[in-house]
């Protein structure tokens, strides 16, 4: 499992860790039940503070991607990957709905919104 952290972007390191692990799980590189390095081991390898990794793991656990058991470590959650995909899509939908509302009420054109969405989407990659 390889994670690449940039210290230069405005994206906090814990978010980078979270999104990269999520991507690995979604793409299938990490299968259900696969172990993930302990928080401290991850912190050591990435040369970051334990608290940062802790936050990342907590977020992943909250979103249902991993499960951490005391004494056994962290593993990719048994949750169905499709279910997670659906869940994330639902989240994206609600955000988009909000954006559409704002656009409608503030007079921002649909094209402009699409342009912005494209910009954000390609920037993330």
């Amino acid at each position: 499992m390889e994670i690449v952290i940039s210290s230069n972007t405005s994206k906090p390191i814990y978010e980078q860790i979270t999104s990269q692990i999520k991507a690995l799980i979604m793409s299938g590189e990490l299968q259900t039940g696969d172990p993930i390095p302990s928080m401290r081991a991850m912190a050591k390898s990435l040369h970051v503070s334990v608290i940062t990794v802790q936050k990342a793991y907590e977020d992943l656990q909250r979103d249902g991607f991993i499960e951490t058991t005391v004494g056994r470590g962290s593993f990719v959650s048994a949750s169905n990957r499709d279910f997670i995909q659906e869940e994330q899509q639902r989240k994206a939908e609600s955000h988009l709905q909000e954006a559409a509302e704002i656009g409608r009420t503030s007079g921002i054109s649909l094209d402009k919104l699409i342009e912005l969405l494209t910009l954000f989407y390609t920037e993330e990659a």
Partner: protein, 288 residues
């Protein structure tokens, strides 16, 4: 034991200087960085923690021992000062044997392992080692008696980046065991930005803040603006500010919120150095 070190309302006066109500803690399993100018009170605080000086007030608890640290607690504490404390005439291996006679949990095999890792020749006299090697030796000695707490006072100043990186790795290894903790007083804020979990900033004998490093690096921000924009800024949002030649610099606690609120101004990341400088050279906005 949830804290390796707990300092509550520490007071200590000397003529012309004093520690006032210094409070912070080193949670077990974490690395805490202690920052501040020379003369701010970092070394005095460390001396108070180690019971090298009497204190004027407050409580200090180290490794669960509520009063002054005892001989037994010192078995569990490894200390590294900024200058070496060993006789120049002794060889590295002789020093190891001396330490074996001083610490109950001295692990000679571990000592030799670290010596090898740091390329410390066992036959070499301490006096013949370079400054960086002396520091590595001090750290080796501190680690080889299997402490639960490492305290370092400016131990990495004067070392080149390669050595510092090696040493930081050693600390990260050290806290793989959750029972171990590190208190690291340093000027080299880039090191702390790498490995610290929490940062405690001491200035003129007082604790200015004690926060997670992530809060400082990702939530704090520096707002730059012109005079008329500065006047519009809500006093509650300002932690500290300074007038520069062509702009005002304002330290804010939440840069996302500030970016939303003050759209005309430039908001930048803050490095730990910049945060320190704003507090030290700028004007601190007191709350209440």
């Amino acid at each position: 034991m949830s804290s390796a070190i707990e300092v509550r309302n520490l007071q200590k006066s000397y003529t012309g200087f004093g520690l006032q109500n210094v409070s912070f803690c080193v949670p077990q399993g974490s690395i805490v960085g202690l920052i501040g100018e020379n003369g701010a009170g970092k070394t005095t605080t460390i001396k108070a923690i180690l019971n090298l000086i009497d204190i004027g007030g407050g409580e200090i608890s180290v490794l669960g021992s509520p009063n002054k640290i005892t001989k037994r607690t010192r078995e569990d504490i490894g200390v590294v000062f900024d200058d070496i404390c060993f006789h120049e005439n002794l060889s590295v291996s002789q020093l190891g044997k001396v330490m074996q006679g001083m610490y109950k949990r001295w692990d000679m095999a571990l000592f030799k392992q670290y010596c090898q890792r740091f390329s410390l020749d066992s036959k070499k006299r301490v006096g013949d080692l370079s400054k960086g090697m002396k520091m590595k030796l001090s750290i080796t000695v501190a680690l080889s008696h299997q402490p639960r707490l490492l305290i370092l006072d400016e131990a990495t100043s004067g070392l080149d980046p390669v050595m510092r990186d090696e040493i930081l790795d050693v600390f990260l290894d050290f806290i793989q065991d959750e029972q171990n903790s590190v208190l690291l007083s340093s000027h080299i804020t880039s090191d702390l930005e790498k490995v610290a979990d929490y940062i405690v900033f001491i200035h003129q004998g007082k604790v200015i803040f004690s926060l997670t490093k992530d809060t400082l690096l990702y939530q704090y921000g520096i707002l730059r603006c012109r005079t008329d924009e500065f006047k519009q800024i809500d006093k509650d949002d300002i932690l500290a500010y300074q007038k520069k030649d062509f702009e005002w610099e304002v330290l804010v606690a939440d840069k996302e919120k500030a970016a939303q609120k003050y759209k005309k101004c430039v908001i930048d990341h803050a490095t730990i150095d910049e945060i320190m400088l704003l507090y030290i050279k700028g004007v601190q906005q007191c709350e209440g």
